[in-house]
Amino acid sequence: MQSVILRARLESALGERIPSPFTDLDRRVFESVPTGIAPLDALMGGLPRGAITEIFGPRSSGRTSAMVSILTEAAASGEVCALVDGNDAFDPKSASEAGLELQRLLWVRCRKLDQVLKSTDLLLHGGGFGRVVMDLTDFPLSNVRSIPLASWFRFQRTIEKTPTVLLVMSSESVVKSAAALVLRMEMRCAEWSTILNGMNSNIEVLRSRRGKIGRGKIQVRLVNSLFCTSKKGNSLV
């Protein structure tokens, strides 16, 4: 009985400032954006806006190709993207040949981890970017693990009411519970003929808070279009 009285008093005290202080907020409708990888979009419904997506995996697992595909989709729809390149490893030529409109991409070339964190923070606070990619793949794992969990939650809080997708790429999962979507990638096999034709990768959904399903696994084939167009005369061993 006392709790009812207390509740009534609080409601009258808060008055017009907060009309219904004890009513749950309506659940937000979360928008998703396509990745450009059709099987993944069919499985997940795309990447959630206003949340962190993490893609991790070892070398040659297809992480960078997935990132370029995501950026290509965003740029094709007219959105502006930013790439915080942790170790200055981005290859604009292969991204361009994958269809990425480079003029819609802000490329921030970093060399140190603190530069990556500061730059990402500035970009997220600046706002207006459809996708912000934070590439941590080439940093030693000990350095990446040293990023405090609070930083990830701060990033998540910064973008949660914006349409920005923060994509974190690393060699192992570092964002932990701050990520709304976690994808693990690994190479199944490379396709060789006389040249490197491409490779097959597995994409495993480890966590999806807003997607259609919680977990799942798909296979994608990545084509080596660079070599198909530019190389002639070759041999395979």
Binding site: G78, P92, V108, L122, K232
Partner: protein, 419 residues
């Protein structure tokens, strides 16, 4: 009605004072010559009284500015000019009486070309009245169009629109400091105050700036903006960030700021416009990013039109339109991408039958399970920075790499990893 202020033998300073004097009465002021200004006084009756009163106030204004000027008011600008040049003190020419009032004035008040003046003097014509009595057709035959124009002026009927004088607007603020400043931080307050004034003046004229010039004694910086802005806080932050990146080498005693005016940006926003940063905020974000990673490391990548490996430049990033940009034809949405190792890492490679079979570089070593190549690429042989290499794709320890053999250096390098 038009008023004219005339000072014989006016100097440059006097001309400026004349303009100021006329500008106090009308925004439409024509600087006819160094000592002559004409301005529109139509509609001033309600404010200042009759035209003789207006003329008296103009003369008083000129006197207050230290000018001993003739003032004339007439129905057209040319008649006012002639009257001011011909009569001393104040003269009012009512509408329709111009010809009668001007008839005794010498021809020199028309400022005719010397050859026409000489011809008229040979004819015995010395006053406007005498000139006005000549038949217009014969004047035209003998003196041409210039003569016809002067003939109309002699009648006091010249009609032409005013050509208002437009001062080149400068938005400058200068501050002499009492003591030297050796750090950047105190400049924030100084810039903020100066830019507040400049931006307020620009706002009153509906202008913005796309270029701010800063002079700190002998040290100068120019802040170029991709779009016109007039937000003093934004400009202050941009200037401070620019100075932090390029600090002056000496203590600061004098600060001068000039904003180059431009038309402000007008944008029609739409409900379905794709997401993009606000231009003003983007400029600030870019400036801050440049302070973190360096100016050359922030921008939009551009692939150069050459076969040289990793040939690119970073250009200034700006918001591009909604339209689809140029995309390489035949692209695949799921293409295998390359991650580059910048600079390429030197590798130790073992070869059997001209094929690499084992490799070691920077934490990666082991037998090469598959290798594809070589592809020979070279170029710019006539330049010192030529390249000549044989590229291979290899698979080592479940990872795909691109390596190359530098023909000239006789060394192997790891160029990147497929990912």
């Amino acid at each position: 009605m038009f008023a004219c202020i005339y000072i014989p033998n006016a100097s440059g300073d006097t001309a400026a004072a004349l303009l100021n004097c006329a500008s106090a009465f009308s925004p439409r002021v024509e600087k006819t010559s160094a000592g002559t200004v004409v301005f529109d006084v139509e509609g001033l009756e309600r404010l200042l009284g009759s035209y003789p009163e207006i003329a008296a106030k103009v003369a008083e204004q000129a006197r207050a500015a230290g000018l001993h000027a003739n003032v004339a008011v007439a129905a057209n600008a040319e008649a006012a000019i002639c009257a001011a040049r011909g009569f001393g003190g104040i003269s009012i020419l009512n509408r329709g009486t111009e010809a009668a009032r001007l008839r005794d004035l010498p021809l020199t008040v028309l400022s005719p070309p010397p050859e026409i003046l000489e011809t008229l003097e040979r004819w015995g014509i010395r006053t406007l009245g005498a000139f006005a009595t000549l038949p217009a057709v014969q004047v035209s035959e003998r003196l041409g169009q210039e003569g016809v124009k002067l003939h109309k002026l002699a009648h006091g009927t010249g009609v032409r629109p005013l050509v208002p004088h437009a001062d080149a607007m400068r938005f400058v603020e200068v501050m002499e400091l009492d003591y030297d400043i050796t750090t950047i931080e105190p400049l924030t307050f100084i810039f903020s105050r100066m830019l507040d004034g400049i931006c307020a003046r620009m706002r009153s004229r509906n202008l913005a700036t796309h270029e701010v010039r800063l002079a700190l004694g002998g040290y100068a910086r120019v802040l170029n903006l991709p779009l016109p802005v007039r937000n003093p806080r934004l400009l202050t932050k941009l200037l401070i960030l620019d100075l932090e990146a390029h600090p002056p080498g000496a203590p600061i005693r004098r600060v001068e700021l000039e904003a180059i005016p431009a038309k402000p940006r007008t944008v029609q926003n739409g409900l379905f416009v794709p997401l993009s940063p606000e231009p003003e905020k983007l400029e600030l974000t870019l400036a801050r990013l440049k302070a973190v990673v360096g100016e050359e490391n922030v921008g939009a990548p551009e692939v150069l039109d050459t076969h040289r490996p990793d040939a690119l430049k970073v250009q200034t990033f700006g918001i591009v339109g909604k339209e689809r940009l140029h995309v390489v034809a035949g692209f695949s949405p799921r293409s295998l991408s390359l991650r580059l190792l910048r600079p390429s890492l030197e590798a130790t490679v073992q070869i059997q039958n001209h094929i690499p079979t084992w490799i070691a570089f920077h934490g990666v070593h082991g037998p090469i399970s598959t290798a594809s190549g070589p592809w020979h690429t070279s170029g710019d042989w006539w330049r010192p920075n030529m390249w000549d290499r044989e590229e291979w794709d290899i698979e080592v320890a479940d990872a795909l790499y691109r390596i190359y053999y530098d023909v000239h250096l006789d060394r192997w390098y790891a160029q990147g990893v497929y990912d």
